[in-house]
Subunit: 200 residues, 2 copies
DNA sequence: GCTATAGCAATACAAACGACTTGCGAAATG
DNA sequence: CATTTCGCAAGTCGTTTGTATTGCTATAGC
């Protein structure tokens, strides 16, 4: 047998090159040749790891979702054993806003995929699948807040969760357009959470 | 002189053909030939009215913004002389959600432009310019609500306006992905407005 | 009625695209 | 040491892209 290389590691490297291009010029502006050049490899080598462009796009999307999920997990894990629901929600939200360059890149990539997902059935599945889980998680935190008496009992946890997701997403979208900064966006969500958690 | 045709009317027709394609397949999937075919004209004729593809895209964006602004204006005008701030806000929001097919098409087009705006300086200007005006308008309505005693005095009108814009935008984005329906989205914003306007 | 010109069709063209094929070197196995 | 198979480079293919060019037709003005 000839030499073996770590396929997954190579594919990850290529995916990261794709993100850099998608961030700078958009997903549709990323040709296979561009990605190969950005990754510092030949077109032939890229095609050795991805049989088609579509395969590359799907892999890159799954890869970035994994990384984002892991980042949120780490942040929440750092909160300690018994964190307050408000801190959990604010920590999650903080990870969903383009507060630093890396996160901003992630957002630009996510937006690039979002537009494609609108017209591409397969990608739409990927883009949608994370929402119910996130919504359930947020709703659980709201419910926990109600148990602790920090959230009014007449609030619908499922509705509040959806509101929070949509709100953060909208704030983040305008933040990447420089309509307002990510810090201002964070302040706005924080105010929203203040209201939800009875601090007046 | 030879015969003369109404250039603006032809350009508007071409722009509408572009929207139909952008709605179905995205902006990047719309070639000049596709647009010409959709408009029922030849490529040569299309080029007669738009010297370059970029010129066509910019015109189509400005045209759809004009139409959307006029729709909102009509809806608010139909509210009568002294409408309540809550009704004004809900009416505006209703126009910003993809509740019918025409509105959904408008949203898909807007999304297509949004992604392009992230990477295109000129389009970004167009995409951003409408927000401050809308925010000021919403903030004015919140302030009016405070004067009428319907909104708590410690709410920051500017912040509430930004929250509402971002919230509606996020809800609308997920609505076009079919994560939830536009009707559910409307119900969620309505609940948000209930809270803002002291109905508990 | 001649002419200038707007309107428009048809075609050409270079560039770039994704996909595919071929071929060679290297290395681990037998 | 031979052989097999992976890793990869280079080139080619047909298609599609935006733009440019050419030329015909009809009409308004002189």
């Amino acid at each position: 047998m000839p030499k073996r290389v770590d396929h997954e590691e190579r594919r990850a490297r290529i995916a990261e090159a794709l993100w850099r291009i998608a961030c700078a010029r958009g997903l549709d502006g990323a040709s296979l040749r561009d990605v190969a050049a950005e990754a510092g490899i030949s077109l032939g080598q890229l095609q050795h790891y991805f049989a088609s462009k579509d395969e590359m796009l799907v892999f890159a999307l799954e890869h970035i979702s994994d990384l984002a999920a892991r980042r949120v997990g780490e942040r929440l894990g750092a909160l300690g054993g018994e964190p307050s629901p408000r801190d959990v929600l604010l920590g999650s939200v903080r990870e969903m806003l383009p507060l630093d360059d890396r996160s901003r890149t992630g957002h630009l990539v996510q937006i690039a995929y979002f537009v494609r997902a609108v017209h591409d059935e397969r990608l739409r599945g990927h883009a949608k699948e994370g929402v119910p889980g996130l919504r359930a998680f947020f709703a659980g935190q709201v419910r926990e807040g109600q148990l602790r008496g920090e959230v009014a009992g007449d609030r619908d946890p499922e509705a509040e969760a959806a509101l929070l997701i949509a709100l953060v997403d909208g704030l983040a979208s305008y933040a990447v357009l420089d309509v307002w900064t990510a810090e201002e966006a964070l302040g706005l969500v924080s105010g929203h959470l203040d209201r939800l958690f009875g601090v007046r």
